[in-house]
Amino acid sequence: MSAVPHDDHHHEQHPYWIKRWLFTTNHKDIGTLYLWFAMIMFFVGGAMAMIIRTELFQPGLQFVDPQFFNSMTTLHALVMIFGVIMPAFTGLANWLVPMMVGAPDMALPRMNNWSFWILPFAFAMLLSTLFMEGGAPAGGWTMYPPLSLQTGAAFPFLIFSIHFLGLASIMGAINVIATILNMRAPGMSLMKMPLFVWTWLITAYLIIAVMPVLAGAVTMMLTDKFFGTSFFNAAGGGDPVLFQHIFWFFGHPEVYILILPSFGVISSIVPTFSRKPLFGYSSMVYATASIAFLSFIVWAHHMFTVGMPLGGLLFFMFATMLIAVPTGVKVFNWVATMWRGSLTFETPMLFAIAFIVLFSIGGFSGLMLAIVPADFQYQDTYFVVAHFHYVLVPGSVFAILAAVYYWLPKWTGHMYNESLGKWHFWLSAIFVNLTFFPMHFVGLAGMPRRIPDYALQFADYKMLISVGAFGFGLAQLLFLYIVVQTIRGGERATSQVWDGARGLEWTLPSPPPYHTFETAPVVK
């Protein structure tokens, strides 16, 4: 393969600030915007988590009103899902997909600009509800009616910000698909694409499939509230459980939207630092596709206690258990890739290894949750909170952190500070377990989720969890520092960066020129 960066000088000039960032259609600039946006929202959502953990530090009501507490859990989830993980992955896709498939830019650059700039407005709207009469939405991120219909002035703003977020992600997804399907370099057949590209292709289809479903559900709720329909109102012939079915038909694929790109990231990093090709490339692709398919037929496992007929329970139990098979294939593949490799443990690899172990723990609790009779006991307790935080924090978030450490030298042309990176890793890994592991115990012992105050038997663990959470939050400030430091300077990175790295992006200089691959490379 050969890269011919086109260095016609006027291409290198980019306009100053406002013009550059506001009007940009460059995939790298937009990638950077997405990543910074995610970083900022990570601290916003993190601050909300700290408020939650402060109130839960001790039994009794100390700091906030229960209603505000509920707003915090609601907004924390919405911010973390739609404001952090999804934009961070889209940022990675913007930076990496063109460079990985040998394209000059994303297929639809103007739409790319738009899909990013919708986000800050959508979130400004969502967060402005904090100052509205009746307070911010407090019905949970799942927005079940009739409770969420009790939201005050914030209600339509919640619905419309969801619409905007959906719009932005659908546009981003269309762009990713168009780029991958149309702009691959000659010779880059589908089965030669890096797994990150594959996982994103599948994620993008999931997004297009389910975001409109969410939009539909919230719109039905909007008309229930303002236009006299009764989709979800039993008194008018509707059914509140219908909302849950529609919501989770979106919601379950959504959780895979939040994890599939991490599978791609980990599948890039593990072979690099093992100096060994991925054990089973094609089985990884098939596993990803089967997970995506299964994700459409398991939604009701989020609502086992809602009172379904036996046949329904059994179907959703079996289908959910099946997901463990392709998930297992992934984990086994990563371990087999490490097996008899020549391992080194730079920060990205550390995060990747922690991902594999801790994500698996989340997968195990997921399997436990799939067993319906046991799920009746777990449902809506801290056990579920532990489960999804294991898959989302040391899962998705660790994968994003690993990706940033891995590709930051490529993006900035500077090496990050390795020993600070290791510090960041160890602090994160220790505190994340301190925070989320004891949640399994309090959940099993009977603590419901989404409560601002709790019985005394949970007090010891709750304090431990809060300490862990504060530690984890603080450790992330170190990450911010490391990133800023790397952007500002540091040891020059070579174009290869990591000796074991393979793929088109590593054939480009670090940092890559503003426009890359104007002449397509040829992949053999």
Partner: protein
């Protein structure tokens, strides 16, 4: 680059073992699902422990392989990478093996589920209605009904007074039921969705406005069993506990008599459903 460092290896071990260790050290506060006081709850507990140990076994195998690799296959020890990849046999094996384990787990789970689903032939029926934020109980066979509300004083909640033993899991009117009787619980709601849960009975079911859900239980030990609402239902979701008092039949009959004569401070509700 990265050198073999003893402290790093120890840290790795700690990162992997810490969760397990803290699991066993957790004999201190309650840290596991209660075994419960019904046949079903013990079956559920058994299922829970079964899947738990299966997961632990799989975890031990996978993570040990990984740990071995991390310790032995380091470049810093001069280990040269093998270049093997793709093996259809291995791939098929690690697809089939988990599948078989899953089937083995699905069978007992299905049996328990079928037993839980059978609400036929009850000895008595109680209708439970969720309200923001209290429960209403209606003994359909005895014509008794009352509200059950949190009895923890506000002063305890707002930290002006020491918290009692049953802080937040105590109510003014307990649900008194006889032991060894098949009791069907009908759940519904007056406003938003609630969920009625008592861990020791392994009963949790959503209370939906406009719909009725059915569950059943047969308690075999007298005692007081505490639980909470488990579906977010607004501001005071954390403050609507469930307290079930299971007693011998004779004592239950006496309680029914007292209720009918309106004694013992148990108020018959205004709702009068």
């Amino acid at each position: 680059m990265a050198r073999w460092k003893f402290d790093q290896a120890v840290a790795w071990l700690a990162a992997i073992l810490l969760p397990l260790l803290s699991g066993s050290a957790a004999a201190l506060p309650a840290s596991n699902m209660p075994r419960g006081v019904t046949e079903i709850s013990r079956e559920v507990y058994g299922l829970h422990m079964l899947i738990f140990w299966i997961c632990v076994a799989i975890g031990v195998v996978v993570f040990s392989a990984m740990l071995y690799s991390i310790i032995r296959h380091r470049r810093s020890r001069g280990y040269k990478a093998a270049q093997f990849h793709e093996s259809t046999t291995v791939e098929i094996l690690w697809t089939i093996a988990p599948f078989v384990i899953l089937v083995a787990m699905a069978i007992p789970a299905t049996n328990t589920l079928i037993a839980m689903d059978d609400t036929s032939d009850p000895d008595m029926t109680i209708k439970i209605t969720g309200y923001q934020w209290k429960w209403h109980y209606d003994y359909l066979d005895h014509k008794i009904d009352f509200f059950s509300t949190l009895s923890t004083p506000r002063s305890q909640i707002f930290n002006q007074e020491a918290k009692g033993e049953n802080y937040l899991v105590e109510v003014d009117n307990e649900v008194v039921v006889p032991i060894d009787k098949k009791i069907v619980l009908l759940m519904t709601s007056n406003d938003v969705i609630h969920s009625w849960w008592v861990p020791e009975l392994a009963v949790k079911r959503d209370a939906l406005p406009g719909f009725i859900n059915q569950v059943w239980t047969r308690i075999d030990e007298p005692g007081v069993y505490r639980g909470q609402c488990t579906e977010l239902c607004g501001r005071d979701h954390g403050f609507m506990p469930v307290v079930v008092r299971a007693v011998e039949q004779a004592e239950f009959d006496k309680w029914v008599q007292r209720q009918k004569s309106g004694g013992q401070g148990q108020q018959v509700s205004q709702a009068g459903l």
